[in-house]
């Protein structure tokens, strides 16, 4: 060891140690790599191989692998320095992602590798295929009571179609639900006996995307209902790396069912067209600012669509514009959102009435602390926020037909959770007649609510309690006239209070819950009040594997200025797997209504015995007994023998 004391040797050895250290560290922590597939692409059942270096040698408690956000560490095999994943199920064609993480000694999680890879059926097609699920049901009435319109035999069917073709350049996808239903009463008005209830087809190439059929191209805003789903056409352009998306659309104003209504919204009186734009201008902090704009115009033929009831005489037209910004500040602790919108709405479309122009704007802020508060030994997580909004008296948008207007005011909210308790508070004050319309009153509305829930976090309840959950919900809404008008003088107008208590208990083989709601509404201007008391019991049991029992009881007592009414509903369902091929289902419902005006009793009993003959073939015997007893008695019994065929 003497030579180490010589300066020259010391110099060389020092650099040698550094070199060797770096060399072995490089071996140990060389960047893991996903090894390419032998065919040049991954097939659905291919194994995934990661060259993990030293990470292959550490125990599974030190590293983990996720496939499409699912932890698959347990399926990993170690072959030398490689981690090999044999997925439990074939991977669907398309893009997937794989992540390798390491747990350090101090508990930190470090991502060691992240890969996106493509699964293809062949070198030419990433994906190409069609799936059809079809079923046919034949039924024969066994009971003798046949009304003239009821068929002795009936036939109905369904098919779900799903097709995909993806060459890597063009991506085509289509899906549709087909229904065969020859009876008018069982299908929508516009449908033919064999029809598609809903469908959509999408073609994409590069950043361009075209869609036909049911779609929801509008982001939620003051001018568009959240998730507004309509049939129509749209074309979009997307640059994900720049966070920019532009979509032009033409949709039906009223949603429709059935192909006979066509695909394109060709009827100008039932069309909604517009443009949306979203952008994330902060490239390096994409999630911290979202700018969006939407513009639309069209005409509404009134509430004539499927599932809608409303003003049948409406033939409105209009247009609307929305500009919004949504962003985070202060290390995402403070969230700010603002939106300005304008609408021009003509109540009678091309009629003599002039259009009404109105504005709306909203500002919303919420704060979440970086560190929770400490309360003794427990920590309190909390957040709070405030919203201010003003919706003009005639602010209306064709894409948000249900939305209320004519409101101005603020709302504050807060939420906290600690040691098994969750508390939410909400309060606000608004008024209507925002634009001070002459002759109309102004009503101030004060609201507050408090919701408290508890379930044990640390405390281990005794077994007979299962997992208990308790809840208390308090709501209060007061209204007062602050400006005379419409026959109302200034003063208190109305007070509504609701209290709900609930308790639920879950067990390994069952659950039960109770709830009681007391609501009281007082008309402070004209006098009179109403009160409602609702009690509910729900029970679900699985005494053994093959038997399920569900019971729901609901009772309501309603008193409206002395007119009392009681409604009782009981619903019992039982399903039993008698053998691997034989299943029984029973259901019984009772509803009884009692008031000074009337008494009625409805009972409905249903039973079904199902025999699974072979793959795709089922025979069932089913019957129902329904009775309605009031001023007149009605009874209906029906029994059917049914054959179901399913493919594939």
């Amino acid at each position: 060891m003497v030579f180490l004391h010589r300066p020259g040797y010391r110099f060389c050895c020092g650099w040698g140690v550094i070199f060797l250290t770096l060399f072995f560290q490089r071996i140990a922590w060389s960047t893991p790599a996903l090894l390419p597939a032998a065919e040049g692409f991954w097939t659905p059942d291919a194994a995934l191989r990661i060259e993990a270096g030293a990470l292959a040698g550490v125990g599974p408690e030190r590293r983990a692998v996720e496939l499409d956000d699912m932890d698959v560490t347990a399926l990993l095999a170690v072959e030398g320095s490689e981690l090999v994943l044999y997925p439990a199920q074939p991977l669907a064609p398309g893009w997937h992602q794989l992540r390798l993480v390491e747990y350090t000694d101090d508990g930190e999680i470090i991502e060691r590798g992240f890969w996106r890879f493509e699964v293809r059926r062949s070198s030419l097609w990433r994906e190409r295929g069609a799936e059809v699920q079809a079923g046919l049901s034949l039924a024969r009435r066994l009971s003798r009571e046949i009304t003239p319109d009821d068929p002795q035999n009936s036939l109905e069917g369904t098919a779900r179609l799903d097709g995909t073709a993806d060459s890597g350049t063009w991506r085509l996808r289509g899906e549709a639900d087909l229904v065969y239903q020859p009876r008018d009463v069982l299908r929508s008005q516009a449908m033919t006996p064999l029809d598609a209830t809903a469908f959509s087809a999408t073609a994409a190439r590069g950043p361009w995307r075209f869609t036909a059929g049911q779609q929801a191209p509008l982001p939620p805003s003051l001018i568009a209902e959240e998730g507004l789903l309509r049939r129509g056409l749209s074309a979009g352009f997307e640059r994900p790396e720049q966070g920019t998306q532009v979509t032009a659309f033409a949709l039906r104003s009223q949603e429709v069912v059935g192909l006979s209504e066509g695909i394109a919204p060709s009827d100008a009186s039932d069309r909604l067209a517009g443009l949306t734009l979203t952008s994330r201008p902060l490239i390096s902090r994409r999630d911290e600012l979202l700018l969006s704009a939407a513009w639309l115009q069209g005409r509404d033929p009134g509430a004539v669509g499927e599932g809608v009831w409303g003003d049948p005489d409406l033939t409105a037209s209009g247009r609307a514009l929305s500009l919004a910004a949504d962003g985070f500040l202060w290390q995402r602790r403070l969230r700010l959102r603002g939106e300005w919108a304008s609408s021009r709405y003509d109540y009678d479309g091309t009629g003599p009435l002039s259009a009404e122009t109105a504005q709306a704007h909203t500002l919303w802020a919420s704060y979440t602390p970086a560190q929770p508060l400490s309360l003794g030994e427990t920590r309190v997580n909390w957040e709070a926020g405030v919203e201010w909004r003003r919706l003009g008296s005639f602010f209306r948008s064709l894409a948000n037909p249900a939305a209320g207007a004519d409101r101005a005011g603020w709302r504050g909210f807060a939420a906290a959770s600690w040691d098994g308790f969750d508390l939410r508070l909400d309060t606000g004050r608004e008024h209507d007649n925002v634009d001070s319309l002459p002759g109309l009153p102004r009503i101030a509305i004060d609201r507050w609510s408090a919701v408290l829930a508890w379930s044990p976090l640390q405390w281990q309840p005794p077994a007979w309690l299962g997992l208990p959950r308790l809840g208390l919900d308090l709501q209060r809404s007061g209204q007062a006239v602050t400006r005379d008008g419409g026959g109302l003088a200034a003063g208190a107008l109305r007070l509504t209070r609701v209290v709900t208590f609930s308790a639920g208990f879950d067990y390994e083989r069952g659950r039960w819950s109770v709830a009681h709601t007391l609501a009281r509404d007082e008309d402070l201007a004209l006098g009179g009040d109403s009160e409602s008391r609702i009690s509910e019991l729900s029970l679900g049991l699985q005494p053994w594997e093959s038997l399920n029992i569900d019971l729901t009881l609901q009772q309501e007592r309603y008193d409206d200025n002395g007119d009392a009414a009681t409604t009782n509903v009981a619903d019992l369902n039982l399903s039993q797997q008698l053998s691997p091929r034989l299943a029984l289902q029973l259901g019984h419902t009772l509803e009884r209504q009692t008031s000074v005006w009337m008494q009625s009793r409805t009972t409905a009993t249903q039973a079904q015995l199902q025999w699974w003959l072979r793959e795709g073939v089922t025979v069932s015997l089913e019957g129902s007994d329904n009775r309605y007893a009031a001023d007149v008695d009605q009874r209906d019994r029906q029994f059917f023998l049914r054959l179901d065929l399913a493919w594939p």
Binding site: R187, I445, D571, P580, R581
Partner: protein, 368 residues
């Protein structure tokens, strides 16, 4: 609802009572408040008295008819019509009262037009005639704001979750309806979700109640009401409706339809999940435990954001056939923000097919 006694229409512009067999007509309530800018409904009860003279000098007809209703302003100018005929036929006897119930829908455009014309009231009038004489009565409609108006619905939109109006679903799939209610005024919304199941729709559809909805709606606006989990055990066509008891709407409720498709295979056997219990909170030690399934190659714990099992799960974990319990690792728990989730277990066979599945259970995540 206003406790109104009869207030005869002030100017009696439209009345004709000369020697009429119909001696009076009145409407209750005679005064309702309707919102400017949105449609409204008003429930009216018309009471028409037919009188006869013992001497027979005044004759009366058997049919009492009102051909249509009319909206007018205080000066009698026509604003709009309701082409609905009210008619009752009864043998002529002594004095007799005919009662007609009507729920009249007042169009939004008409109310807007009246407001723009500077009106504070409009009138809904009907004339009842028995061919021997006629009498008219009118209900006064006060124009006011949506919050101060009488309790009525202006729009109702039923759909399944996601906005779909018709669904084809697999047996056992979780399906919920929802309704968006636009309303004016304040009051208790009373309705019942009802369904007609394949055991009746193959013949005469018979609706059975599922659950009642009772909710106080206040000061006008809109609200979303979620419905119950719908029955999807029997294959075939189902009809769904929301029967509305209050406020009076005077219409047959809109229907939705859904079909449970026949399945090629038997329903998946149940995989028994032993823990955690439904509604449990996810912690670092929450143990997902199950009973083994013969022939399983692997088990998959799926965590989803909704009660739907279609589409890929949010996250989860795959375990080997030898395992019967797992604890979610930190990097998987990290993916779950505070909120409510649903989880289930799948047993995967050697070919990758699903051998058995557990029912969905609720799982809650709160901030650490």
């Amino acid at each position: 609802m206003y406790p109104i006694r009869l207030v005869s229409f002030p100017a009696l512009f439209f009345a004709s009572s000369l020697q009429a067999a119909i001696t009076s007509a009145e409407v209750i309530p005679s005064n309702v408040a309707v919102p400017v800018g949105q449609a409204a409904s008003a429930s009216l009860r018309w009471a028409v008295v037919r009188g006869t003279s013992p001497t027979g000098l005044v004759q009366a007809g058997e049919n009492v008819v009102s051909g249509r209703g009319e909206f007018r302003d205080a000066a009698g100018q026509l604003l709009g019509r309701v082409e609905r005929r009210l008619q009752q036929t009864r043998t002529v006897s002594s004095s007799d009262t005919f009662t007609f119930r009507e729920t009249v829908r007042v169009p939004a455009a008409l109310l807007y037009q009246a407001h723009k014309a500077g009106l504070t009231h409009i009138y809904y009038q009907r004339t009842f005639d028995d061919d021997y004489g006629a009498q008219s009565a009118s209900a006064e409609m006060r124009l006011t704001s949506a919050a101060a108006a009488g309790f009525s619905l202006s729009r109702l939109a039923l759909s399944f979750e996601g906005g779909w109006l018709h669904r084809v679903v697999a047996a056992g799939e979780v399906l919920r309806p929802q309704v968006v209610v636009s309303f004016s005024g304040s009051g208790q919304f009373r309705a019942t979700w009802e369904v007609a199941e394949p055991a009746t729709t193959r013949g005469e559809p018979v609706f059975r109640p599922l659950i009642s909805v009772r909710r106080y709606l206040t000061a006008g606006g809109e609200t979303l009401i979620e419905g119950p989990v719908l029955p999807t055990r029997s294959k075939g066509t189902y009809l769904l409706r929301l029967r509305i008891d209050a406020p009076d709407v005077g219409f047959a409720p809109p229907l939705l339809r859904y079909v449970v498709e026949p399945a090629a295979a038997r329903a998946l056997p149940t995989l028994t999940a032993q823990s955690p219990l439904s509604g449990a909170r996810l912690t670092a030690v929450t143990r997902f435990q199950w009973s083994p399934v013969a022939g399983a190659r692997a088990y998959q714990v799926e965590i989803r954001g909704t009660e739907s099992v279609t589409g890929p799960p949010l996250t989860g974990l795959v375990a080997t056939a030898e395992q019967n319990h797992v604890v979610l690792p930190p990097h998987t728990r990290e993916r779950l923000k505070p909120g409510r989730y649903y989880w289930r277990l799948l047993a995967i066979g050697p070919q990758g097919g699903v051998l058995a599945a557990s029912p969905l259970r609720e799982l809650r995540v709160i901030a650490p």
